[in-house]
């Protein structure tokens, strides 16, 4: 066997801060052979990024113990000039958020030229330009010569990520580290990026260290998988082995937390419709004189939501799904259309909605860090809907708060805490409890799980489903994650560019999508079960 590109032996990394030390990584051992792709899976705080960054020698305010050898060089004891030579040349990095990694005040091309120049000072202006345009072509950027002179904000997120990949491969490194390169992207864009990564690996033969919390992405790019938790590597193995026969309990839990079957959406046609929308149109811009371009965010969309049912609205960013949610909750007004709650139609002007109308439709936001007032205690937050809608007598409020906390499986003494003293998943439970505190008929959930870690996501989804059964509320569930839709069941509408492309029961749409775009979405987010099955078959074929 050839020498590994990366050889990490018994590495521990400790962060020092004023408040003490944190062991981010504990005795990690990992080898990557030339040309091999290794994926690291773990939740936030598992130490996966810290470990990856330590390979480039970039661990400020941290003590690194153990041995890290990159292409034969000792990283732990390397001098800063040595590290600079290695970075970009031997190891390069694709960060998670391309918007932050690119300089907004510089044209795109010169930023990649910078990297080339750092390793080859002789390079002439014209030659560098040609090389960068070549690179842009290899990462399938449209009209590369044109793009060279554009600014970051003028290209899409997927294109920004391609630019960073181009920069990463520019000096033909032996190892590329990708830190959640698809996390900020839409499903269809991320599938293209994954395809590109696979192609580039074949043509360049470089090794890849791929960090992600998304199992289906890791399964598709890597040969081997490393599972990290609390700073420790709990499992390593080939992708097929790990996914088909996970040995560690945590890995099993991770894989089990991805729903494989469509949840049973029983025929509930007998349930009355609680919320219906017809021909909702929302346009932005236009101006008084009509000179500016108008943007139609929502274009004649309608739906019917039955009591105790879930309707998922699926779409990528910019599809108008959030705008639709805000119209339903009365945060913005629609230009046309009709919304009715039960038998009553709601006034077009959301400011004229009565308190009872508002009580009936509650909202859960995507990011629990922003949706809870940091200066209010949990008790104050939960009591507000009760005070506002008088849904609870004032002497019974404390009891109701305790009851709600119990319903979302949090200890009763959390009532006295501030949001900053809770974890992300706990905050989202509070946001859910606040929605239920109003005793609503419909809850609009705007991507309530997408800011959470995978295992927390599953718990929050389970909670939502249990509360739905108990309280018989309806969910209008906004999401881009088809796995979530699968777990929720019920009905589904697919939105793109403001219009509704497809609607129907989740199981029907998943089995036989009618529209090309739906098919594309479904293939972009494959069922992990399918992948595992394929892998298990491949493994068996190898054995025989």
């Amino acid at each position: 066997m050839t020498d590994p590109v990366l050889d990490i032996v018994d590495v521990g990394i400790t962060y020092r801060s004023a408040r003490g030390t944190v062991d981010a990584v504990r005795s990690a051992t990992l080898q990557i052979a030339p040309g091999e792709a290794v994926g690291i899976i773990g939740e936030s705080g598992s130490g996966k990024s810290t470990l990856a960054y330590s390979v480039t020698g970039w661990t400020p305010q941290a003590d690194v113990r153990g041995r890290i050898r990159l292409a034969g060089c000792d990283i732990v004891n390397a001098s800063e000039p040595d590290l600079r030579r290695l970075r970009g040349g031997t190891v390069s990095m694709v960060p998670q958020d391309p918007k932050k990694a690119l300089n907004p005040s510089m044209r795109i091309g010169p930023q990649v030229v910078e990297q080339l120049r750092a390793h080859d000072q002789e390079l002439s202006e014209a030659e560098a330009r040609k090389r960068v345009i070549d690179l842009f072509e290899q990462v399938n950027l449209p009209r590369p010569a044109d793009l060279f002179d554009r600014y970051t904000h003028e290209i899409s997120g997927g294109q920004q990520q391609r630019v960073l990949i181009a920069a990463a491969i520019s000096c033909r490194p032996k190892l590329i580290i990708m830190d959640e390169p698809t996390t900020g992207l839409d499903v269809t864009t991320s599938i293209q990026i994954i395809k590109l990564v696979r192609e580039l690996r074949q043509s360049y033969g470089c090794a890849l260290l791929f960090i992600s919390h998304d199992l289906s992405v890791v399964a598709r790019v890597s040969d081997r998988v490393v599972v990290m938790r609390h700073g420790e590597i709990v499992e390593t193995g080939t992708t097929a082995e790990v996914f088909s026969r996970p040995s560690h309990a945590y890995t099993r839990q991770l894989i089990a937390s991805i729903p494989r079957e469509v949840a049973e959406s029983g025929p509930r046609c007998e349930a009355p419709v609680v919320l219906a929308a017809e021909n909702i149109v929302k346009q932005y811009g236009g101006g008084i004189l009509g000179q500016a371009r108008t943007l139609t965010a929502v274009d004649r969309v309608g739906f019917r939501l039955a009591q105790g049912e879930t309707l998922s609205v699926v779409g990528e960013s910019g599809s108008g799904k959030t705008t639709l949610a805000r119209i339903v909750t009365g945060l913005i007004d629609a230009n046309e259309g009709k919304i009715s709650l039960g038998n009553l139609s709601l006034p077009m002007d959301p400011r004229r909605r009565s308190r009872a109308d508002r009580q009936a439709v509650q909202l859960i936001f995507q990011n629990p860090d922003a949706s809870l007032n940091p200066r209010q205690t949990i008790a104050q937050i939960l009591k507000r809907p009760m005070q506002l809608y008088r849904s609870c007598p004032s002497d019974g409020m404390d009891a109701r708060v305790a009851e709600l906390l119990e319903a979302v499986q949090l200890p009763a003494d959390y009532a006295r805490r501030f949001p900053s003293q809770l974890s992300g998943g706990e905050k989202q439970r509070i946001a859910i409890a606040r929605a239920f505190a109003a005793k609503p008929r419909v809850i609009v959930c705007d991507e309530p799980t997408s800011a959470l870690d995978l295992s927390v996501q599953t718990a929050v989804l389970d909670l939502l489903l249990r509360l739905q059964r108990e309280e018989n509320v309806s969910y209008l569930f906004i999401t881009h994650d088809l796995n979530v839709v699968r777990a929720l069941g019920g009905h589904l509408i697919v939105m793109k560019n403001g219009s509704c492309l497809e609607a129907g029961p989740v199981s029907d749409v998943f089995r036989a999508p009618q529209h090309d775009y739906t098919r594309q979405l479904l293939s972009a987010a494959p069922v992990l079960g399918d992948i595992i099955e394929q892998m298990a078959q491949a493994l068996q074929a190898q054995r025989h």
Binding site: G330, L331, Q362, L363, F365, A370, N373, P374, R384, L388
Partner: protein
């Protein structure tokens, strides 16, 4: 309220345990407390009656008997400076607190309600701020008459627009956050959202604004008194003392104007140092000098 603001911010939680006040802050706090005590109690303790005219003791240089010397009417400068702290501190305090409170309310409304209300008031505010403060104060006092109440009102009015601008900017940062959307979606009134949801989140800015306004208020009162539009005689106000005595400088009687000038400087600087330190606690930034 204060302790909650301090303990809520993560940055400060780490700092407070290890907090050591700087030397400058200790000195500033002592100086400031000295003037506050003087304002409250000096009348009872001063060695000489600050209003007692003694034609036999005119323009005596500093000595053991008269620490800061005497003025051209034989009054003890030391006693006058101590007693003179009362008006400037009272007027500055009320001007700063009224200006900050009204500016905070205005800023909350402008930042949350937006629209025409915000546009119109922003333009008015810009107009007020763009005029030299002293000129406008002179005009307003000329119209309202010279009194401490008018002085407080005029300074507070000018401060209100400055504070409103700062608070409006802080509110804009918060107003698009989801917890505000949540309050709007559930149908809470604008007053509830502004006072219960937004105000606690911008309160650290309000505290900093108040301390900064205090500095400027002392300055403004001293300035206007010097020009004859501020605190009125017979009060031994510092600005007045300087105004009455600076002509004597040419003749070599430096002590009559020097000590009230030093008093103004010490008060302004001590408040500024304290304000700066509070700002560092709350936002981690230095004030512009």
């Amino acid at each position: 309220m204060m302790s909650r603001i301090l303990s809520d911010s993560k940055k400060n939680r780490a700092n407070l345990g290890l907090y050591r006040p700087s030397f400058a802050l200790i000195v500033a706090a002592i100086v400031f407390m000295f003037w506050v005590l003087a304002a409250i109690t000096a009348r009872a303790f001063v060695p000489h009656d600050p209003f007692n005219v003694r034609l036999d003791a005119m323009l005596l240089p500093p000595s053991a008997e008269y620490l800061f010397g005497t003025d051209d009417m034989g009054r003890d400068v030391f006693s006058r400076v101590l007693v003179g702290s009362r008006d400037i501190l009272t007027v500055s305090f009320f001007a700063a607190i009224i200006g900050t409170a009204s500016g905070t309310l205005l800023g909350l409304m402008m930042g949350y309600l937006r629209g025409v209300f915000d546009e119109v008031l922003s333009r008015i505010g810009e107009a007020v701020i763009s005029l030299p403060g002293v000129i406008m104060a002179l005009l307003l006092i000329a119209a309202l008459g010279r009194s401490n109440v008018a002085l407080i009102g005029v300074i507070a009015f000018e401060f209100m627009w400055v504070v409103a601008r700062t608070i409006r900017a802080a509110v804009l940062l918060q107003a698009e956050k989801d917890f505000i959307l949540a309050a709007r979606a559930r149908g809470d009134s604008a007053a509830y959202v502004m006072l219960r949801e937004l105000l606690p989140n911008v309160f650290s800015v309000v505290v900093v604004e108040f301390t900064v306004r205090m500095t400027f208020a002392v300055f403004s009162v001293a300035n206007l008194s010097f020009l004859g539009f501020g605190v009125q005689p017979p009060s031994p106000d510092w600005g007045l003392l300087v105004a009455q005595a600076y002509g004597l400088l040419v003749a070599g009687y430096w002590w009559v104007s020097l000590f009230p000038t030093l008093a103004i400087a010490s008060l302004v600087i001590s408040i500024y140092v304290i304000a700066n330190e509070i700002n560092r606690w709350l936002s981690g930034g230095e004030l512009p000098a």
